[in-house]
Point group: C2
Chain length 253, copies 2
């Protein structure tokens, strides 16, 4: 048995290429589809079940026909993380569970008109719950809207999904120091900056976190076109790699 | 010179095929892409300028690169009519004008974070304005959110775009009787019903409007999968035809 995480999207709300931009990274992404970055999201395969981690892709219904996944697990209710739910909610069939933070607003009219989506599965920080045998622990993050990262753990492996966030709150960092994951997927929207940015992390922030956590493998996501340009000219430190759309991380289950 | 309107999408928020649905219309749309219906929207080509009528398509940036169109003209701020604006607003370049009704809320945080979109172009019912030579008149419609249809007129032709609406308000109907368009594109979400539906039109409503207006050519849009099933078994009256994604209407300019 394996625990497999696929990065479906590794960009921000802006995506790559950016509308109207002709920077080197956007030009490259126009020419070669493998360099495009859709909204940050993923899928988790474990024990025969599929969990969709955020819902910012617009073609969810085509990629994941009804019945091909068990539930959504949302980090937060910003548009680029939930926009794929809007057409889906008007689908036909029994309800689909949506797990996520206890955000009272949600996004636009999702809570008012949930259709077949069941948003009642609100989560509590650091309280582990079970998804078809996968142990999931919500981890508060630093963002402009109530946001949870998640530690996803099987009997033999664990991976932390930490986006969107500017660094980490101290209680989340302490939890991860006590429960170190093999792999960390983390928001790194920005190239190294003198002042740490708000709402998202830059590479300096992630390098500092790696030193503190001692994580063997860090995968960057929520990557902006400016950071892509930076990476076209600079190497990442050992143990830190850039995620890409379609990247598959397979761990022992 | 010609006035050309292309129907980019002829479905509702649910689209066709509907997520999880195996009705005859949804099965057909899965098998044959020409039967799919994306969110109701269009493009207008006149006098070398392009106007995008609503913005519910998710791949606007790919279909319409920066600079390939002049402005957006919005009917209303429901998600299925504006969702394509969310990634686009973070583009690079000078501002893009968005014309539409004076809706104070807009949709989600579009007004709070407009990016390069300029939402200041709010319109007044029945006050004609100019878009690169095209004369545009906002027409109030009957919908659950403040919604305008539009009469689009050149020197020789005119076409009315009337979606989303349940029938027509009397002042809009009176205006169209005085200014009869050659072509009417109108919301017809539903197969004929005993009781007229709320917020959207059914075929009985449109047939009654055609009799009153004497319109020579009526094209139906915002079509649901149930109405598609009905049309697989029933013919439409003379002078009424179902729109389809990609349909081109070319009039003398």
């Amino acid at each position: 048995m394996s625990l497999t995480i696929t990065l479906l999207g590794t960009g921000g709300a802006q995506q790559v290429p950016v509308f109207g931009c002709d920077c080197a990274a956007c030009q490259r992404a126009h020419l070669h589809v493998q360099y495009r970055r859709l909204p940050c999201s993923g899928s988790v395969n474990f024990n025969g079940a599929v969990t969709l981690l955020d819902a910012g892709l617009h073609d969810l219904a085509e990629r994941w026909p009804y019945g091909s996944f068990q539930q959504f697990l949302l980090t937060h209710y910003h548009m680029d993380h939930v926009q794929g739910l809007f057409p889906l909610r008007w689908g036909v069939g029994s309800q689909i569970a949506v797990y996520g933070p206890p955000d009272e607003q949600g996004c636009d009219d999702l809570f008012k008109h949930p259709g077949l989506l069941d948003f009642s599965h609100t989560l509590t920080p650091f309280v582990t719950f079970d998804l078809q045998g996968l142990q999931v622990t919500p981890l508060p993050l630093n963002h402009s809207k109530l946001t949870f990262g998640y530690l996803l753990a099987s009997a033999h492996s664990s991976i932390a999904w930490l986006s969107d966030t500017a660094g980490l709150p101290s209680d989340t960092l302490q939890f991860l120091l006590k429960n170190p994951p093999q792999v960390v997927v983390i928001d790194c929207s920005h190239e190294p900056r003198d002042k740490p940015p708000r709402n998202h992390s830059d590479l300096n922030t992630v390098i500092a976190l790696k030193a503190e956590m001692g994580s063997p493998r860090i995968i960057l996501t929520h990557i902006s076109h400016q950071f892509d340009v930076w990476m076209m000219e600079n190497a990442l430190p050992n143990g830190i790699e850039a995620g890409f759309d379609g990247m598959v991380i397979e761990l022992e289950g």
